[in-house]
């Protein structure tokens, strides 16, 4: 029997396997950031251990840092302390740090691929659940806790039970105005936020193959929102082309060797998955969430379900609690819902392609008077590129704030917090209660849907704006 892509990557990384014990899995690349690493370094110091492979460990700062242009002397004390701690740890243990004072810094899941650290067939971990993003390159990438961060720092390995496999086939062609974000929100809406627990997803099918690398990253990024720790897409010519020439990508003869190996990284035709589902891309619409977990989403033409439509008492309880928090009603359409804040950013949707698409909607239009809108590029490189293309001017002229790179209002660890009760049209990945600020209400959607919401001041079907002639 053939192997799945996941099994090929897994099998290539098993260092040891004692009877009855989990596998000792080798980790090729370890990404760290300021929030989930300090306690891991403290443990290393306590036990007198070194970082086994500082050359395979890469750090940046993204979660807690301000995204306003601010001297570190003026930062909140907590964020400054985390950044200083990371700097000291990287210095003491010889780890490469993409510092905010340099020109590479950004969201860890944007920077890793950008630098070519992320490569097909690798195992990649980070103390962040959205590490699944790197699966877009055919890497087995997943989030870990701080104890595991310490294990990888010390041994470059993790103790892992082999997860099960789940093929998600997305066939056909996406309609006008429908994006990768809508695919993944539709998958999670169908399977539920826990549908993938215990599994690794593999996204397959013609609709997935036709996506750009940025769009594939958007999909893999939200695997964890569907319950799966990891989600992979088989690498192809697009992947290789995207990686070639990046700073940490193999060069010269190594590149040829690497690509020859990467071409073997796909599920064999006779490979068997533990579970499978198929989705018709042509039937999808722009999606919006209405609830407090990412599985609570509907197409823009749809209505919020009534509790009596749900068979399961747990689902009913979840729905009622979510709607109470969100100030929404069963049977309501999301189209027309007022929006107070628009957040364009996060490891899901802050890449140059996302900003270009959103800018096309914003260009020649104005942000609605009552809306605060911000664009937070995923990395300094994305920001520079956008500025070269003049995207910053389009956003600023429309009334958006143009920020520095970081996680920002995706998790509201820095000062970018939405006030209680406000509705946030957000391109991020989580609509949990208070995620974007205590009491704030998140509506997850694609970058073009969020751009349209900024302009109209309410949730609209972006396809209507796309059909209108531009005002310029």
């Amino acid at each position: 029997m053939g192997k799945t892509l996941f099994e090929k990557v897994w099998d290539a990384h098993v260092v040891a396997q004692d009877p009855g014990a989990p596998a000792v899995l080798y980790i090729d690349a370890h990404l760290i950031h300021e929030v989930t690493s300090p306690q891991a370094f403290a443990l290393l110091r306590e036990r007198g251990l070194k970082v086994r492979r500082p050359d395979r460990t890469f750090a940046t700062m993204d979660h807690a840092i301000p995204t306003r242009d601010l001297d570190i002397a003026l930062w909140p004390q907590d964020a400054a302390r985390q950044v200083e701690t990371l700097r000291r740890n990287c210095r003491d243990f010889g780890i490469t740090l993409f510092d905010i004072q340099g020109d590479v810094q950004g969201i860890v899941h944007v920077v890793g691929p950008e630098m070519g650290i992320t490569q097909p067939g690798m195992t990649i971990v980070c103390g962040d659940s959205h590490t699944s993003t790197h699966g877009a390159f055919g890497a087995l990438a997943f989030g870990i806790g701080t104890s595991e961060v310490a294990h990888v720092l010390a041994t470059q390995c993790l103790l892992q039970r082999k997860p099960k496999t789940f093929a998600i086939n997305v066939e056909g062609e996406l309609g006008f105005g429908v994006t990768a974000k809508d695919i993944i929100l539709a998958i999670i809406a169908r399977n539920g936020a826990a549908g993938g627990v215990g599994y690794v997803f593999e996204y397959r099918g013609s609709a997935i193959r036709s996506l750009s690398m940025a769009n594939r990253m958007t999909i893999c990024n939200m695997s964890i929102e569907g319950g799966a720790r990891a989600g992979l897409i088989a690498p192809d010519e697009k992947t290789f082309q995207w990686l070639q020439g990046r700073p940490y990508a193999p060069q010269g003869p190594d590149w040829e060797r690497a690509v020859a190996y990467w071409r073997t990284l796909h599920s064999d035709p006779d490979a068997v998955f533990d579970r499978e589902m198929t989705l018709d891309a042509g039937e999808l619409e722009p999606m919006v969430t209405y609830g407090t977990n990412p599985g609570q989403g509907i197409p823009i033409s749809g209505r919020i379900p009534y509790p009596e439509e749900l068979e399961d008492p747990g689902e009913r309880r979840s729905l009622l609690a979510a709607l109470e928090y969100m100030g929404l009603k069963p049977g309501q359409k999301m189209e027309g819902q007022r929006v107070d804040i628009v957040f364009l950013g996060s490891c899901t949707n802050s890449r140059i392609e996302d900003l270009r698409e959103a800018a096309k909607i914003v260009r020649g239009r104005k942000v609605a008077d009552h809306v605060q809108a911000l664009v937070v590029p995923g990395s300094k490189a994305v920001k520079r590129q956008a500025e070269e293309e003049g995207l910053d001017r389009i956003f600023v002229e429309a009334g958006f704030e143009w920020r520095g790179a970081g996680c920002s209002m995706c998790l509201a660890m820095n000062e970018d917090k939405a006030p209680a009760g406000k509705y946030v049209a957000s391109t991020s990945n989580r609509n949990f209660r208070g995620r974007q600020g205590p009491g704030a209400r998140s509506l997850l959607m694609s970058p073009i849907m969020a751009a349209a919401a900024a302009v109209e001041g309410r949730v609209v079907d972006v396809r209507e704006l796309m059909r209108e002639p531009l005002a310029v």
């Binding site: 080798y26 907590d78 103390g127 806790g145 104890s147 310490a150 103790l159 997860p163 747990g314």
Partner: protein
């Protein structure tokens, strides 16, 4: 890590599904560089009103549940962020075990690595336990990890699954690091043959 063998304690019913780690410990508590101080942040968005006063409606603030060491929650507990701070917060607040029909993968692993026992029981059993501890908050519940059994005061026993390796680690209070460090020769051999 403290070994976990048996626990006899009172339990708190948390009737909610998909409790995410942003609820268990909100982002504002993640700015620490140590593990300390997480207990006060546990469920802080639910325990406190925006003005900082306790919310008497939230189950953890109800006096009949003070001192409980077992949390009984709905399915997919610990979904979302990988923050281990969620487990530290539960432990520092005083919980030793969480009973739920299912757990999110990363939270589940984090719990095991800190000696917080995640107990998976069927939906009906969780429902029954919720009813029981709501009616009689003083009900002691006994968890025996060696036998993998939850025992109710009337003698009823509910079995739960656990990975045998993880069970051994919990019983002995052993963490992964010692085991991984003992694999040094295998790791070095792997690195020597690895193409990377």
């Amino acid at each position: 890590m403290e070994p976990f063998r048996t626990l006899r304690a009172r339990a708190v019913p948390l009737r909610a599904e998909n409790v995410d780690t942003d609820q268990i410990i909100p982002a504002q508590y993640l700015t620490a560089v140590t593990r300390e101080g997480m207990g006060q942040g546990l469920f802080s968005g639910w325990r406190y009103h925006p003005d900082g006063t306790p919310n008497p409606d939230f189950v953890l603030n109800q006096p009949q549940y003070a001192g409980a060491e077992i949390l009984i929650a709905g399915r997919n507990f610990g979904t979302g962020s990988s923050r281990e701070h969620a487990v530290w917060a539960l432990l520092q607040y005083g919980f030793r075990a969480v009973i739920a029909p299912s757990f999110a993968d990363i939270f589940f692993n984090n719990a095991l690595k800190n000696g917080l026992l995640p107990v998976r029981l069927p939906e009906e059993a969780v429902q029954m336990l919720w009813d029981l501890v709501e009616e009689e908050p003083d009900t002691p519940i006994r968890i025996d990890l060696e036998r993998q059994i939850v025992t109710l005061p009337d003698g009823q026993e509910l079995g739960f699954p656990i990975d045998p390796f993880r069970k051994m680690c919990l019983l002995q209070g052993m963490d992964d690091l010692g085991y991984l460090l003992s694999k040094e020769p295998e790791i070095a051999a792997y690195e020597a043959r690895s193409p990377w």
